[in-house]
Symmetry: C2
Subunit: 160 residues, 2 copies
């Protein structure tokens, strides 16, 4: 288990990203995933920063590197990563972010800084208890939940 990295603070991000990639490689082996060149590069691009990227931003990068130039190229790679739990979709930003806890079987939740646009993923493992309670009351079976919190990170708050 890696040391906790605060996405909002400056840190050795190369190490931070490599660490995720190392865990991804294990999962790829274990689950016999086909992490093809486009998919691999897409994941690496997402891992370059703690910001969520739009599909078209990813596409630009891929195209510049010799992959296809059309939207489905990016969407397919991104969708695959999301399906495999290696990336998450951040609806509020119409964007995608690499999963920081691949293989950890968690309900993703995100802290999104409105000032610097960085995104931190939290590794909660279960659903919000209040949500669970509500589901029970409604007779509803939750399969997936998405939590996106908007606010401001400490670094940005300090600057203001």
């Amino acid at each position: 288990m890696p040391a906790f990295q605060n996405a909002f603070e400056s840190h050795d991000h190369a190490h931070c990203a490599d660490d995720v990639l190392a865990r991804v490689r294990v999962i790829v082996q274990k689950n016999k995933l086909r992490l093809t060149p486009v998919r691999q590069r897409t994941l690496e691009i997402l891992l370059e920063s703690h910001k969520a990227l739009g599909a078209y931003e990813v596409l630009e990068r891929l195209a510049a590197e010799g992959f296809g130039h059309q939207p489905p190229v990016a969407y397919r790679a991104l969708d695959y990563l999301v399906e495999q739990g290696l990336a998450h979709r951040i609806r509020r930003l119409n964007g995608f972010a690499a999963c920081m806890y691949p293989g950890a079987d968690h309900e993703p939740a995100f802290l999104i800084c409105k000032s610097c646009d960085k995104v931190a993923e939290t590794k909660g493992s279960a659903f919000d208890p209040a949500l669970n309670q509500a589901a029970k009351t409604h007779g509803f079976h939750i399969e997936r939940s998405n939590i996106e919190a908007m606010g401001e990170c400490a670094s940005c708050k300090g600057v203001l």
Copy 2:
């Protein structure tokens, strides 16, 4: 306080919607809101069902009733309702739903049935404790949070 209505079960929805509208009227008075004809109709349209509506679906309805025919007409009315807390945006569905607890100062959370597309809003009042904890760890100040849970309602599960 109105009786709890399970959005997924059949119920006296006319009463359910009227009840919300009654509470909206109080808020409009109290906060001196300008619930103009387009805005009022937009809210009523959202209240017709427990499904989230896309902006263009709302627009179609408004246009048919003599209001403007262009997207900004719908988006402006919807954005206003959201700003005033009378409606919520459901990012996962690219849609909007009337707030079922107007004036109740709550962090909205939604249960979305993948089969019948109905949406139930829960009246949790505070942030997810795990999310709060994560925010604390990250030195992050949460302003708003959105919780959207996908799954299946009891009615639909029974049918399958």
